[in-house]
C-alpha cells in the first residue's frame, strides 16, 4: 500500500442544538470527532444503528453540511469547507433515495448536464459525449437522457444517481445507504456495478450502511459508530474476527442470525 493516504479526515465534528424556549432547555448532541485515512481504491464502511450519526458524517464528508470543527485532506491538500467546486469535482455522494435526489420536473439528460455546466467549460458536444458515456457506464442507454425521473424504476434511478456522481470524475464517492431500498436482485446488480467501477476507475468509496453482510462484501475497512462517537475501527477482518466493543459484538451477532 502507498504511504500517503488519498483521503484523510481529522477530528471533524458537528454539534446539534435543540431549539430551546422559555420552558425547555435545549439538548445538545455532538457527532464526532471522527478521523480516518483512506488510500486510493479502498472502501471504508461506516456502520451503526439508526441515529448513531453515521449519516451526518457522510453528509459532512460530501460537503452537504458544514462541520463545527475538523479538517479534510485530499492527498496533500487541505480542503476548504466552503470551496464547493473542489468538493463536487473530487468528492461525490450517492443518495439513499435516488428517486428523491432527482429533480422531478427536469429530464435526466439535462440533470446530468447541469453539473457539467456548473463546473466545467465543455462545449455542448463534449457534454453530450460525457453524458452518453456516463449513462453507458451504469448500464443505461443514451436514449434515456430524454426521460423524466418518474419514468424510471428504483434500480434505474439508482444507476442514474451513480452516473451523476461519476460524471465529474471524482476520486471519492460517498454512498449513503444507497443500496438499502433496492430489492435483492437489483442490489446485487448495483453492487457489482460499483465494484466494477471501482476497479476500472480506481475510486475510493465511503460506504454508509447498517447492513453488515453488504459491508463485509464490499469494504476493506470498517468504522462503527454509536451515539455520535466511533466505538471501534479497523480492517474488516480484524473487526469481524475479534470485535472488542460490546455494541459491535451485538451488531455482528445480529448478522449471524
Amino acid at each position: 500500500m502507498e504511504s500517503i493516504p488519498l483521503f484523510s479526515v481529522r477530528e471533524i465534528k458537528k454539534i446539534y442544538k435543540d431549539k430551546s424556549n422559555w420552558f425547555k432547555k435545549g439538548r445538545v448532541v455532538e457527532i464526532g470527532p471522527v478521523s480516518f485515512d483512506l488510500h486510493r481504491g479502498e472502501t471504508l464502511a461506516i456502520v451503526g444503528e439508526a441515529g448513531s450519526g453515521k449519516s451526518t458524517v457522510g453528509r459532512l464528508l460530501a460537503g452537504a453540511e458544514l462541520p463545527d470543527g475538523g479538517k479534510l485532506y485530499l492527498g496533500d491538500d487541505e480542503i476548504n469547507w466552503n470551496d464547493s467546486k473542489f468538493f463536487c469535482q473530487n468528492i461525490r455522494m450517492i443518495f439513499q433515495d435516488s428517486q428523491k435526489s432527482l429533480n422531478p420536473t427536469v429530464r435526466i439528460g439535462d440533470q446530468l448536464e447541469q453539473p457539467l455546466l456548473f463546473n466545467t467549460r465543455l462545449n455542448k458536444e463534449q457534454r453530450l459525449e460525457r453524458i452518453n458515456n456516463a449513462l453507458r457506464k451504469v448500464g443505461l442507454l443514451p436514449e434515456h437522457a430524454g426521460y423524466y425521473p418518474h419514468m424510471f424504476s428504483g434500480g434505474q434511478a439508482q444507476r442514474i444517481g451513480i452516473a451523476r456522481a461519476l460524471i465529474l470524475d471524482p476520486q471519492v464517492v460517498i454512498i449513503d445507504e444507497a443500496l438499502a431500498p433496492l430489492d435483492p436482485s437489483l442490489r446485487a446488480q448495483v453492487i457489482n456495478l460499483l465494484l466494477e467501477l471501482q476497479e476500472t476507475l480506481q475510486l475510493t468509496y465511503v460506504l454508509i450502511s447498517h447492513q453488515i453482510s453488504l459491508v463485509r462484501y464490499l469494504s476493506d475497512r470498517i468504522m462503527i459508530m454509536d451515539q455520535g462517537k466511533i466505538i471501534e475501527a479497523g480492517t474488516i477482518d480484524d473487526v469481524f474476527e475479534t470485535p472488542k466493543h460490546p455494541k459491535t459484538q451485538k451488531l455482528l451477532k445480529s448478522l449471524d442470525m
Binding site: 432527482l102 463546473n119 423524466y148
Partner: protein
C-alpha cells in the same frame, strides 16, 4: 398502484403534459379553459373589435334594449346605456379593464412574489422570523380589505386600484413561494444540486423555478378570480375606476339608476363578469384537481 388502464399510459408524459392530460379529462374545465382563452384574447383585442368607442355617446339612441328584444336595434347588439353608449363596446373594453388588468396584476404580483418569496425562503434567523410575523399579519387581512386601505391612502382611480390589487395579493404569493422554497430546500434533489456545485442563482434557476412554476400557475389562476372581484368591487362601491371608464363594476354602479327601467344595462355586464369569474374558478379548480390526481399516481 398497479391499476389496469386500457388506454396508453400517460405516465410516459412529461409532468406538465401529464397534468394537461388529466386536466383534459375534465370536460367542464376544458370548456372553461377555452372560454378563458377567448376572454383573454378579447381582453387584448376586444377594444379593436368594438363597433364604437366605449365613451362615444349616441344621443339619438338612449337606453336601446339589446338586439334580441322586441324593440332592439341590430346596430346596438347589447343595447345602449342612459347616455347612449353602446354596451357591447363598453363591455368589450370592460373585459380588458376587469379581466385583463386582473391577469396583469396577478402576473406582476406573482413575479414580485416569486423573488421576494425566494429570498425569504433562503433567509434564516431573525430576519426570517420578522418577515414571518409581518406576513402572518398581512395574510389575515383579506385582499379586498387591503386593497380598500391602499385605495383609501392613494385615492380612487383605475391606476391606484391596479396597484392596490397587486399589493394586496403580494403577501399570499410571498407566503406561498416562501413555504414552497423552504420545503424544496430540504428536498434531496436540491441538496444534490448544491453538491453538484450550483450557486444560489443556478439553484434558483434549475432546481427551484421548474418546481415552483406549476404551483404558481395554479395559485395564480385561483388568484385571478379574487383579483377580478377586487377590481370590480372597488369600482362598484365607487372608489376604484371612475366613470366614464368602462370598468365592469363601475359600469354596473353607473347603471343602477336605470336598473329598473332597463335591466340589461346592469345584467349584461354582470353576466359577463360572472362568466369571467366562473371560468377562472373552474379552470383553477380543474388544474388543482389534476395536480392532486397526478400526485396520487
Amino acid at each position: 398502484m398497479a391499476k389496469f388502464r386500457f388506454f396508453s399510459s400517460p405516465s410516459n408524459y412529461s409532468p406538465l403534459k401529464q397534468l394537461w392530460s388529466l386536466f383534459e379529462r375534465n370536460h367542464f374545465a376544458l370548456v372553461a379553459f377555452w372560454i378563458f382563452i377567448v376572454m383573454f384574447i378579447l381582453s387584448i383585442f376586444g377594444p379593436l373589435l368594438a363597433p364604437y368607442s366605449p365613451y362615444e355617446q349616441h344621443p339619438e339612441a338612449l337606453l336601446v334594449p339589446p338586439a334580441w328584444a322586441l324593440d332592439g336595434q341590430i346596430n346596438y347588439l347589447f343595447g345602449t346605456d342612459a347616455l347612449g353608449r353602446d354596451i357591447l363596446s363598453r363591455v368589450l373594453s370592460g373585459i380588458s379593464y376587469s379581466f385583463g388588468l386582473a391577469i396583469i396584476a396577478v402576473v406582476l404580483a406573482l413575479t414580485i412574489g416569486l423573488f421576494i418569496g425566494t429570498l425569504a425562503g433562503f433567509s434564516k434567523g431573525i430576519r426570517a422570523s420578522a418577515l414571518n410575523h409581518i406576513l402572518d399579519i398581512a395574510l389575515i387581512m383579506p385582499s379586498l380589505l387591503i386593497a380598500i386601505v391602499i385605495v383609501a391612502i392613494l385615492g380612487p382611480g383605475i391606476a391606484n386600484t391596479f396597484w392596490a390589487v397587486v399589493l394586496a395579493m403580494l403577501p399570499q404569493f410571498i407566503h406561498h413561494v416562501r413555504t414552497e422554497v423552504a420545503d424544496l430546500l430540504n428536498k434531496d434533489f436540491v441538496i444534490a444540486y448544491r453538491l453538484d456545485g450550483a450557486n444560489k442563482f443556478q439553484l434558483f434557476k434549475y432546481a427551484l423555478i421548474p418546481n415552483l412554476v406549476e404551483g404558481l400557475v395554479i395559485f395564480g389562476a385561483m388568484a385571478i378570480s379574487s383579483a377580478i372581484l377586487d377590481i370590480v368591487v372597488l369600482g362598484f362601491i365607487g372608489i376604484g375606476a371612475q366613470t366614464p371608464e368602462p370598468e365592469l363594476g363601475t359600469m354596473i354602479a353607473d347603471s343602477i339608476d336605470v336598473f329598473y327601467l332597463s335591466p340589461w344595462t346592469v345584467m349584461l355586464p354582470g353576466l359577463l363578469l360572472f362568466v369571467c369569474i366562473l371560468t377562472v374558478n373552474i379552470v383553477g379548480d380543474g388544474l388543482r384537481r389534476a395536480l392532486k390526481e397526478r400526485r396520487l399516481q
